[in-house]
């Protein structure tokens, strides 16, 4: 069973590479090289901060786009090309197939984010012309970005298990945006007078992903490292949330009629 899942993971990763998903790294590299060279002229001594802000923000943005646009096509492409029938005719469960696809995309994202992280390190070394402590301090924030991307991928997978790719991408993007407003949802639930509205916002706050748990870019740019408890808490939250989302995706996918 583990070997079968691994085969799906490997194939999903290969497919992403064949689809030139990793080409975004070139754009990212150009962005960083350009900023490292030109920002020194414009930032009045804040080069390192701006390189980190730009690098980590681009990492999140590019990663979110890959997670959404590749994520929504994971299942759809297999159905469209009818390769799904061949796979499911083998002793592979539908849930197992989904899980393998999910892990395959996560592997792509991991490679993507590690290469981007090294790119930020190189840009930092270039701008600061020394072994700045920030070179090491950015990695906890990168880890948190990766966990945020894991959730976004799972969301895309849930929507793609029952909806068209375009609609799934749109809905996933909405969740990505709303997930960053989660603190406002909580503030809203605390401030509204009506009890049903208060409950509605409270339920939405807990139901929707809270991406503020993973936001460490700005603090990292100032040289602050999120403490171990915050990072561990966010990672556990991410794993639990992803597990819940994958369960939903598997439940829907198991009942789906492909005839």
């Amino acid at each position: 069973m583990f070997g079968q899942t691994l085969a799906i993971v490997r194939n999903t990763f290969r497919e992403a590479v064949r689809d030139r998903v990793l080409y975004n790294l070139i754009l990212f590299a150009l962005l960083l090289i350009g900023s490292a060279i030109f920002i020194g002229e414009l930032s009045a001594g804040q080069e390192a901060k701006i390189v980190i802000d730009l690098g980590l923000s681009a990492m999140l943005l590019f990663g979110a786009f890959i997670a959404i646009f590749v994520g929504v096509g994971l299942v759809h492409k297999e159905i469209e090309r009818r390769t799904l029938y061949a796979i499911l005719s083998k002793p592979i469960g539908r849930g197992q197939f989904l899980f393998g696809k999910y892990l395959g995309l996560n592997l792509t994202l991991l490679v993507n984010i590690v290469v981007m992280g090294l790119g930020v390190v190189l840009a930092l070394l270039y701008t600061t012309r020394s072994l700045d402590p920030l070179v090491l301090r950015i990695w906890p924030a990168i880890l948190l970005i990766y966990f945020e991307l894991l959730i976004i991928t799972a969301i895309a997978l849930v929507f793609s298990s029952f909806s068209s790719p375009a609609l799934s991408a749109l809905l996933s993007f909405f969740i990505f945006v709303i997930g960053h407003f989660s603190n406002d949802l909580r503030a809203l639930s605390d401030s509204v007078a009506s009890t049903p509205a208060r409950w509605l916002f409270r339920v939405l706050y807990y139901l929707l992903p809270n991406f503020s748990n993973f936001s460490a870019i700005t603090a990292t740019a100032h040289g602050a490292i999120p403490d171990a408890r915050t990072v561990a808490g966010a990672m556990v939250y991410g794993v639990l949330y992803v597990a819940a989302l994958l369960s939903v995706a598997a439940l829907v996918f198991r009942r789906r009629n492909f005839k």
Binding site: A44, G45, Q46, I217, T218
Partner: protein, 299 residues
């Protein structure tokens, strides 16, 4: 083959035409960016922070660079209009009315952006001291352990000659962990001799030591050289006064007091040079001295 040549010709002709047209349009285009340059910011900081999702740090960087470019553009325009003469000590001439909002937005998007507060502390008091104080107080509220912000707030009060308040702010800053040992001394100095030149020199020296911003350092260097020049001018005036007392007349040329001005750099006619290498000039028929009109020392 013929089709390829035709297509290549179309490509060359159309591209050439587009480039020519673009150049023509450029020459007749009214620069609309100038008319929008002073438009007030429509977005308040809190809304901007919400809208930028997790990218608030990046947005803060963008507004920070926009603030620097705004000031830089104003200086360049001013210099163009005034034959390259701009006095860094007189920023009010630049009409930087948008700068407070830009810096406020920068620090709302990223409340830990200390260099933005430092920049505000140096530039804003010339434009609107109350906004400068409000911004620094906002910074202190968001960064309660940063003694540097207390130092800058104290500097603003000192500039306003509110030495009592400056002393209180230095005292509060001295209580922060990591505050340098000179903070309590500065607090006491503000209260006892806030308006003195020695206090001013200490103020600028500490400001220079604690800032890594080149524009702040440049401003501080300018002020320190002004203080040095004022000290020099005092020495020269004392020398001229004692010459008059001894000889019952004023000096005719600088040569007569050269031996008493040994610590100074002198020019070809023996006139002492100020920190900008302009000669001091004799006034009141040699009884007094002042800066040369072409001196670059701030006054």
């Amino acid at each position: 083959m013929k089709t390829d040549i035709a297509l290549a010709l179309v490509l060359i002709v159309c591209l050439g035409g587009a480039i020519g047209l673009s150049r023509g349009l450029d020459q007749h285009r009214i620069n609309s960016s100038d008319s929008f340059a002073e438009e007030p910011l429509y977005l308040n900081g809190r809304s901007a922070k919400r809208m930028t999702l997790a990218f608030n740090g990046l947005a803060a960087d963008w507004y920070w660079m926009r603030s620097l470019q705004y000031v830089g553009r104003k200086i360049v325009t001013y210099e163009d209009e005034h034959n390259g003469k701009f006095d860094l000590a007189d920023l009010s001439a630049l009409d930087l009315r948008l700068l407070p909002s830009l810096l406020d937005l920068t620090t709302t998007l990223d409340p830990q952006f200390i260099p933005a507060y430092e920049y505000a502390a140096v530039i804003l008091p010339e434009i609107n001291p109350n906004q400068a104080i409000a911004l620094l107080e906002k910074g202190i509220a968001a960064n309660q352990s940063s003694w540097r912000l207390y130092q800058h707030l104290g500097y603003i009060y000192w500039q306003r000659q509110d030495y009592r308040r400056a002393g209180e702010v230095y005292e509060a800053g001295a209580r922060m962990s990591g505050a340098p040992t000179w903070m309590p001394a500065m607090a006491a100095r503000m209260k006892s001799e806030g308006g003195s030149r020695a206090a001013a020199r200490d103020m600028y020296r500490h400001l220079r030591e604690s800032s890594s911003d080149a524009s702040i350092q440049q401003m501080v260097d300018h002020q320190l050289s002004r203080l040095n020049a004022l000290d020099e001018l005092d020495t020269i005036r004392q020398t001229l006064a004692s010459f008059k007392q001894r000889n019952e007349r004023c000096v005719i040329s600088w040569r007569e007091v050269n031996s008493e001005l040994r610590g100074f750099q002198l020019d070809a006619i023996g006139a002492p040079l100020d920190p900008s290498n302009a000669p001091y000039r004799l006034i009141n028929n040699g009884c007094g001295a002042d800066f040369d009109p072409n001196s670059k020392v701030a006054r």
